[in-house]
Symmetry: C2
Subunit: 192 residues, 2 copies
């Protein structure tokens, strides 16, 4: 998606340690007009799929998922990190390792909001090693629901998450795939 | 806001310990069409204020803030709980005690995304004792930005947060104020 690639090229900051900071528009400060265009694009890409619910994971996936959901006319469910006393009853759960926070989270979704009748689009802001998406897939499989597709804002193309998901047959659409980035020059190269 | 009150009356669940569960439409599964109506209402209520940014707190405020922001044509910044290695540079911070999770969080916003030129609308899903909103106000004051208003989806009217904020002169608009609720009958009474 050219609009997103241009924005990453202009405002993304490349840091040592394979870190791409896009917190000025994507995951700390959020440009809602950009999100709206991304939502339209996700709708176009998954127009052939019978999606009735969007699943994301807190925190930075929520904004993209909610703005995109307007274009699908479906509700959003977000998976929560760690147990909350307000989530009673049974939950589907999986373990997710965060690249950013260097720790493992329990991720849960109430059984009330996912079931065999659901056709799910997974949306998230970043795809690197795929831990978060794999955790969401595990939750969806636990609910005997169907993964209709996976939509990602920014994929780090040199990490294994995207390749592995595509090889397993999932319909994965990343709006921007970063192929390479150089912390010295700040240059970001996208997959064509 | 009648639409939200009706939804709370229909789908909210009252539990012992002053817990109102609205996770079927507000803070776990999220009804985006409802959020869009709430966003329109916030826009109407704060139409006279020169808002250039919306501030919320992760996680459950993010969806409401992002959908509402479309009606204000402004970006959203969400305050993050606990330090992330990806948030470099200096941050504004405050401490927030979570009623739901029974713990104290450090809440941070990068100094890059708040400053003296900003006129902020705070949005959040719940207002009870006001800890989260007070934390956000402290962050905004630290940035020498201006609090233009506070918009809340559901206020628990018998808790002190709303009263205290109004007494301090903040423009606080809650779309639904629950005056009383009965865990035996499930009955929810709203402030008129």
């Amino acid at each position: 998606m050219e609009l997103l690639e241009k924005r990453i090229a202009r405002d993304g900051i490349v840091k040592e340690g394979n870190v791409l900071k896009v917190d000025s528009f994507l995951n700390h400060q959020m440009d809602i007009e950009l999100f709206d265009e991304m939502g339209k694009e996700f709708r176009r890409l998954f127009a052939d799929r019978p999606i009735n619910k969007i699943l994301t994971i807190e925190a930075s996936g929520i904004g993209i998922a909610c703005v995109a959901a307007r274009h699908f006319h479906v509700p959003v469910v977000f998976a929560k990190k760690a147990q909350s006393i307000n989530l009673d009853g049974e939950v589907y759960s999986s373990k997710v390792e965060s690249f950013t926070h260097k720790r493992v989270y329990d991720v849960i979704v109430s059984k009330k909001y996912l079931g065999p009748e659901d056709h799910i689009l997974i949306l998230d802001d970043f795809l690197a090693n795929g831990c978060a998406v794999n955790g969401l897939i595990e939750i969806i499989e636990g609910a005997k629901a169907t993964v209709e597709g996976i939509g990602i804002a920014v994929e780090k193309g040199w990490q294994t998450g995207g390749k592995s998901l595509r090889e397993r047959g999932y319909r994965l659409e990343s709006l921007a795939i970063v192929e390479d980035m150089d912390p010295q020059t700040g240059r970001i190269t996208f997959r064509r």
